[in-house]
């Protein structure tokens, strides 16, 4: 048998065996392919769910811990500190001047947080640079007065039970958009269980549709 004939004969035989799925000895390519598929799938799937949120958001601790429970007990209600101004605008996070209605540069308790507040901020006449969990972007106009006074909503509907917290959770900021994580929601898939879990445009529109029968117009919020 010439060399050429020999090669042709074996070549055709090789092709036949390679196509036969039942032969474990020659099933190397497909088997590795499956393994590579599974490994890559698992790595990417798990990264997407577990690592991606960690990479997407940067965490910032608040300047010091804030005990809402204690303050609600002392001050009475949310609007003792988060009030509507005379002109209808919302005061948001209280300024130092509000804090000083009760506090002085002498710590009122013996917690380390109170000490930081008194020494670093009251004594130095600096505003506390709080991170605002519920901060909406600049392109959104939102009137607290319209929702609280006209619609009679309570704070919890949008802000959740923050008044019942004793500690300040870290603020998470989206590295791409700069938004607070609370806007998209804690759930990375955007699934919400409570009305306050997510506060994107569709959430506004959904509630408006339920309550007023219309989603509202662009310019109502994007002025």
């Amino acid at each position: 048998m010439s060399e050429i004939e020999n090669k042709t004969e074996h070549g055709s035989m090789d092709g036949a065996t390679a196509c036969a799925a039942g032969d474990p000895k020659n099933d190397t390519g497909l088997g590795l392919g499956v393994i590579f598929f599974i490994v890559a799938f698992l790595i990417c799937f798990l990264s997407g769910w577990l690592l991606f949120p960690k990479l997407l958001y940067s965490k910032h601790e608040q300047p010091f811990n804030f005990d809402h429970v204690l303050h609600v007990e002392e001050a009475g209600s949310c609007d003792a500190c988060h009030f509507l101004r005379e002109d209808g605008t919302f005061s948001g996070i209280p300024k130092m001047v509000s804090c000083l209605e009760c506090h002085t540069d002498e710590p009122m308790g013996d917690t380390p947080d109170e000490l930081i507040f008194a020494r670093e901020y009251v004594a130095k006449e600096r505003e506390v640079p709080w991170f605002v969990y519920a901060k909406q972007p600049d392109c959104v106009f939102f009137s607290h007065a319209a929702h609280i006074n006209a619609a009679g909503m309570d704070c919890k509907t949008c802000h959740g039970p923050i008044g019942e917290t004793r500690t300040s959770r870290p603020y998470e900021e989206n590295r791409l958009t700069g938004y607070s994580r609370d806007i998209w929601g804690k759930n990375i898939w955007g699934i919400k269980k409570n009305s306050w879990d997510r506060m994107k445009m569709n959430d506004c529109a959904k509630c408006h549709e339920q309550e007023t029968g219309h989603k509202g117009y662009c310019f109502q919020c994007h002025k």
Binding site: G29, F37, V39, C44, L56, K95, C139, N174, G178, G190
Partner: protein, 709 residues
């Protein structure tokens, strides 16, 4: 087992499948779309509590009430203050851009001292003691009159403090920059005696005869004038504009009558002649005529016959007659002097001639007329404590009546008699005609102190610059002026803490006086400027604090007025522009460009048409009839006795043939990329001509040649 193509395929597919059913795709798509809508590098102004502070704008003599909108104490917007007696809610483009001056790139941020040719920062204490030492030397040598001081105005308590300082120091050489207020005061003084000034009730007048007054181009109190012009139609009031070019005011007028530049005084005198000839003057008011009324009458009949004046002015005789008669027959006529903004180089003869029309028709101190009133004197400064040195200095003759007369005198002498010069809120090295001669004179004065917020042309030639807080950062009384009918004093209040290491000018003067010690210190016993203001303005202080302003005169002056015709009866010479060229170059006031201190804001300069300034090149207006050989938009060289400039031409049928119009306020040469380096300063091209009667530059223009560049 070996790794082959299929393995990589598996790897890729696995990765894609894994990512596809993770939240990465959906989340990143959303985030990226948000990112593209809210660029994170775009600054977002912080939110906060909105408050409003009332104050008064002192950027120009308009003295409008302003309301400053603040967010958490940070000023974000300037608006006109509703119900303020001057502007009643209105504001001009310079006022609303006032915040830009806080952060202006040319602001002087700390006291500066010139060492060799460079400025170095020094502390306020060092700067003040340096100034006090140099001033102290003059008093030790018993030559206090070797100090001169130039201020922007003589109104208000800061100018009052400089006056008080000069009196206590012992120098009579206190000069103010020529503005509409000073020209009106000169005209009133000439015709009605010293201590008077003029106001015009434009809100009610039914026939306004304007001799080039740019009522909507920045004349007087600009916003008050805008409103008066805008309300004209409802009142059925007429506005007749004599002007060599179709300015915005001329375009808004009922009639624009072109007049050869510089002949406005002749025109007014010819119209006086018509009124006298036709017996159309008010006999009751004429009882107060004195000082050569008959001589004046004879003079105008002889020297200003209508036909001759028609040839001179380019206004047809019939128009002169008709307009004069219509003016006299109107119920509430007012004639307005002051070309453009009415500041800078103007003619006393022209002011007096135009105001004589008002006097002849007798609509004086009546509704819709001209108010001849005493200078409002609400400030009660104590008499300065003077020692023998000060008394000797004050007895010395005053060096000059105007800044230009002073600088001309210095330039003519070998060595300057003046040894120290203080300049407050004025920029004579830019805003007067032929500023290079002013700079030359200043350089001969050994020590110059500039009280300025900005590093402008005058600050640059100074030896010490004391940085002054802007009008938004300091307290000051701001009296209404410049032809405004009423008399209102506003209180400017600091709406923001000084952005840089600056002080109130009043405080700086008090501190210099204190550092000098002796009688100077005794004359300035106040703790600070605010304490001084409270004391000297005690009569109106409660009003100032309670409502932010005090109304001094309401509704109009009642005292009898006499009119002295002696000045005009002598037929003073009409000023002729310098040079022998074919064209007459005249400066133009544009509402978007400031011509004194401060220079225009970046916002204001952006409002100027690109037929005035385009990039670095400026345009001059020329009538196509007299522009043969030139191309619209082409470059030309303008040549005058004072200098030459390369500019572009703007063919404009709205300017008289033979006249070239060039906007004022451009061509600054200091470090401000928004405003400086654009175009040419028209003042560089105009040679001053001192008018004998006023001692002040009255060059309304200059002769100019034009050739293709």
């Amino acid at each position: 087992m070996k790794v082959d193509r299929r393995s990589f395929l598996g790897l890729g597919l696995g990765a894609v499948a894994g990512i596809a059913i993770s939240p990465v795709g959906a989340k990143l798509t959303d985030d990226l779309s948000i990112w593209t809508q809210n660029w994170p590098w775009t600054p977002v102004p912080p939110d906060g509590e909105i408050t409003y502070d009332h104050s008064v704008c002192s950027l120009c003599p308009g003295t409008c009430g302003i309301t400053v909108r603040k967010i958490d104490g940070r000023p974000v917007k300037v608006e006109g203050r509703d119900t303020y007696p001057v502007n009643n809610g209105g504001a001009c483009l310079h006022g609303i851009a006032g915040l830009q001056y806080l952060y202006d790139p040319s602001r002087v941020r700390t006291p500066l001292r010139k060492i060799n040719t460079r400025f170095v920062p020094v502390s306020w204490e060092d700067a003040l003691s340096l100034v006090a030492d140099r001033l102290g030397e003059l008093r030790e040598k018993q030559t206090p009159e070797a100090l001169a001081c130039i201020t922007d105005t003589d109104q208000g308590s800061v100018a009052g403090l400089f006056k008080h300082f000069m009196a206590a120091f012992g120098s009579p050489n206190l000069l103010t920059m020529p503005d509409l207020e000073s020209w009106l005061a000169k005209a009133a003084e000439t015709l009605h005696g010293s201590g008077h000034t003029l106001g015009f009730d434009l809100d009610h007048a039914d026939f306004v005869l304007s001799f080039g007054a740019g009522l909507i181009d920045g004349w007087g109190s600009p916003v008050a004038c805008f409103k008066a012009v805008a309300g004209r139609k409802q009142r059925d009031a007429k506005l007749i504009q004599f002007e060599p070019r179709l300015s915005n005011t001329a375009a808004a007028a009922d009639k624009w009558i072109p007049v050869n530049p510089g002949t406005e005084a002749d025109l007014a005198l010819a119209m006086c002649g018509v009124l006298l000839r036709e017996n159309l003057f008010e006999p009751e008011f004429a009882d107060g005529f004195k000082g050569g009324f008959m001589r004046f009458n004879a003079m105008v009949q002889e020297k200003y016959p209508v036909e001759a004046v028609a040839d001179l002015t380019g206004v047809p005789a019939v128009i002169i007659e008709e307009t004069a008669i219509a003016f006299a027959k109107a119920k509430m006529p007012v004639a307005l002097p002051g070309k453009g903004r009415g500041d800078g180089a103007q003619s006393l003869k022209e002011f007096a001639a135009v105001h004589t029309l008002n006097c002849l028709v007798g609509n004086i101190n009546k509704k819709g007329g001209t108010f001849v009133r005493q200078n409002t004197d609400y400030l009660d400064f104590p008499y300065p404590v003077q020692d023998a040195v000060a008394r000797k200095g004050m007895a010395a003759p005053r060096q000059a009546a105007s800044v230009q007369e002073l600088t001309a005198r210095i330039n003519q002498s070998g060595e300057s008699e003046l040894k120290v010069l203080m300049v407050y809120n004025a920029n004579p090295c830019y805003s007067l005609n032929d500023p290079s001669s002013i700079r030359t004179a200043f350089e001969k004065i050994p020590f110059k102190v500039c009280f300025s917020s900005f590093m402008d042309e005058t600050a640059m030639v100074s030896d010490v610059i004391l940085p002054i807080s802007t009008f938004l950062e300091r307290m000051e009384d701001v009296p209404s002026k410049a032809g405004f009918a009423g008399s209102v004093v506003g209180l400017a209040k600091p709406v923001v803490n000084p952005v840089f290491d600056t002080r109130s000018p009043g405080d700086a003067v008090i501190q210099i006086a204190r550092a000098l010690g002796g009688t100077l210190s005794q004359s300035f016993g106040w703790r600070n400027y605010e304490a001084c203001l409270e004391e000297v303005a005690a009569g109106i202080w409660d009003d100032l604090i309670r409502q932010g302003y005090a109304v001094l005169l309401n509704p109009f002056p009642a005292e009898p007025v006499t009119t002295d015709f002696a000045f005009l009866a002598e037929n003073p010479e009409t000023i002729q522009p310098a040079g022998e060229y074919e064209f007459t170059l005249i400066p133009i006031d544009n509402i978007g460009i400031t011509t004194t201190v401060p220079a225009s804001s970046p916002f204001a300069i952006k409002t100027v048409s690109d037929r005035i300034i385009k990039g670095q090149d400026m345009f001059v207006e020329i009538n196509p009839q007299t522009a043969s050989g030139l191309k619209d938009g082409g470059f030309v060289t303008l040549t005058t006795p004072a200098g030459s400039a390369r500019v572009r031409v703007d063919f404009n049928d709205g300017i008289m043939p033979g006249v070239i119009g060039m906007v004022k306020g451009l061509g600054h040469r200091f470090d401000n990329k928004y405003v400086a380096g654009k175009g040419v300063n028209v003042n560089d091209l105009i040679s001053p001509v001192i008018e004998p009667g006023s001692g002040t530059d009255a060059a309304f223009g200059v002769k100019a040649g034009i050739s293709r560049a």
